[in-house]
């Protein structure tokens, strides 16, 4: 009797076992995770893959665009007339402000010239459209349809018609990633419009309102105060609306007051955004005063 062959016939041979493959790819992913978070080595790879994904992302816009087009086309005369009337009303309502604007601008220019302040913010900006929001529940990001090809640089501020939305954090050739001000790692230097008090607005992650942290309980902050950018960071031009204080909790047991804010911009529903060109008029950073001391200390340490 012939013995039954023990080896697997070549027909059934399917390469390394699933467990071996899992181990291989698991280690590979861990290496990638490490390389990406620690050293950011993989930005180039990301750029290349993002170009490959770009047509897909554009294709995704088509149903929405088509729907908007069709609903526009079939919009009734009545709706159009209503909208027209509304727009006219709005125009009239804004007339005083618009007429007063050149005068204010002129006055402002004169005052600035008096103070010898350089025009810090060149008013150039790029209009962009939101492509999609990130699926990642841990961060607050959106992707917009223009990138380094349209002159967008990482670090630029992003606003919508009501206020600051966020900041460009990563630029691809045809699109850019915008981190919203509600993101956990995002901070915006702000100023209270009423009192001029400066502070920093910190995002608090998905589903939570941003807060002003490290504010003393005695600070002059009230519910309803509007926060505008202070312009100290050189990212956002000063005076853009950011948020409104909706709650002030002063707990005697805590060192700081808890100040909860609501973003004024349509953070999660604005479709069209404006990427501001970065103002580069910031003076160079002063030399660190402690630097001489530290070198001295290091020298002493070395000798010991």
């Amino acid at each position: 009797m012939r013995p039954i062959p023990v080896d697997t016939p070549a027909f059934f041979n399917r390469g390394p076992s699933p467990l071996a493959r899992l181990a291989f790819f698991g280690v590979l992913s861990l290496a990638l995770l490490f390389a990406d978070t620690r050293y950011r080595y993989l930005e180039n790879v990301r750029q290349v893959v993002s170009i490959a994904l770009y047509p897909l992302q554009r294709a995704l816009q088509m149903p929405g665009v088509a729907f908007a087009y069709v609903s526009d086309y079939f919009g009734t005369k009545r709706e159009l007339a209503d909208e027209n009337a509304m727009l006219k009303q709005e125009l009239v309502a804004r007339a005083p402000a618009i007429q007063g604007y050149p005068r204010v601008q002129e006055e402002n220019a004169r005052l600035k010239a008096l103070l010898d302040v350089r025009a810090q913010y060149a008013a150039s900006a790029t209009a962009v459209q939101v492509l999609y929001t990130s699926r990642d529940p841990f961060t607050q990001k959106v992707f917009v349809d223009k990138g380094s090809g349209a002159g967008i640089v990482a670090g630029a501020g992003v606003v919508d018609e009501n206020g600051v939305v966020g900041q460009v954090t990563r630029v691809f050739p045809y699109m850019a990633e915008v981190t919203l001000i509600t993101d956990r790692d995002q901070a915006v230097p702000v100023q209270v419009e009423r009192s001029g008090a400066r502070s920093v607005l910190f995002g608090n992650g998905t589903g939570r309102s941003p807060e002003l942290r490290f504010t003393s309980p005695s600070a002059d902050l009230r519910i309803g105060d509007r926060l505008v950018t202070s312009g100290l960071d050189g990212t956002y031009p000063p005076g853009l609306a950011v948020a409104q204080i909706i709650d002030v909790v002063k707990d005697a047991g805590q060192m700081f007051a808890r100040i909860v804010c609501k973003p004024l911009a349509g953070i999660d529903h604005s479709e069209f955004l404006l990427v501001l060109s970065q103002s580069t008029a910031m003076p160079p950073r002063p030399e660190e005063p402690g630097e001489a001391d530290t070198t001295k200390k290091a020298g002493r340490k070395g000798r010991r």
Binding site: F25, G26, L33, S50, L53, T206
Partner: protein, 180 residues
């Protein structure tokens, strides 16, 4: 008269039904569609409920066609997802690789059950996949998310029967042809 194949026989193919071989282009196309659905611009409630379609499709092919889709394919697809989502490189790749391994480990068992019972086991696999992503982010310093974080995997499990039937449709012999 021709009867629609899906009406008379909704559910997985019965053992006496001989399926046609899966076409590699269809597998690729389905993965692409899964990726596209993951990247679709939605917000609000839909975003909170949206399951990981790509994970579902990967899981389906890992269970049905382990010769075509395995740990390696899942890993590559995961990398694409990482770029599309702008998350840390390797996060989805790791999760999908583990998912594919789980599928390969359990596939003979899962296939013995009717679709809705398969869905329960799929839920477990999808939750594990989500927890791996959570673990990676947690180590990276992210705070723990709300319990709603586990809703999308469960929604994904509920969609499992639909996805299974849809992805199996092109493999089914059409009735008119079998009769001739």
């Amino acid at each position: 008269m021709r009867v629609l194949p899906s009406v008379g026989s909704f559910g997985p193919a019965s053992p006496d039904e001989i399926l046609r071989p899966a076409k590699p282009w269809f597998i690729l196309l389905s993965l692409l569609v899964g990726l596209v659905m993951n990247l679709a611009p939605v917000s609000g409630t839909v975003l909170a409920l949206r399951p990981d379609f790509l994970a579902l499709v990967v899981l389906y092919w890992c269970i049905q066609q382990p010769r075509y889709v395995g740990v390696g394919t899942a890993w590559v697809v995961g990398l694409l997802m990482d770029v599309g989502d702008a998350t840390v490189f390797g996060q989805h790749a790791l999760a999908y690789a583990v998912l594919a391994y789980g599928a390969e480990y359990f596939r003979r068992r899962v296939l013995r059950f009717p679709l809705w019972q398969q869905a329960v086991q799929v839920a477990a696999l999808l939750v594990i996949c989500a927890l791996i992503v959570l673990l990676v982010r947690f180590v990276g310093g992210a705070p723990l998310p709300h319990w709603q974080y586990l809703v999308p995997p469960l929604v994904g499990a509920l969609l499992w029967p639909i996805v299974s039937v849809l992805l199996q449709t092109p493999q089914r012999p059409s009735r008119s042809r079998t009769r001739n």
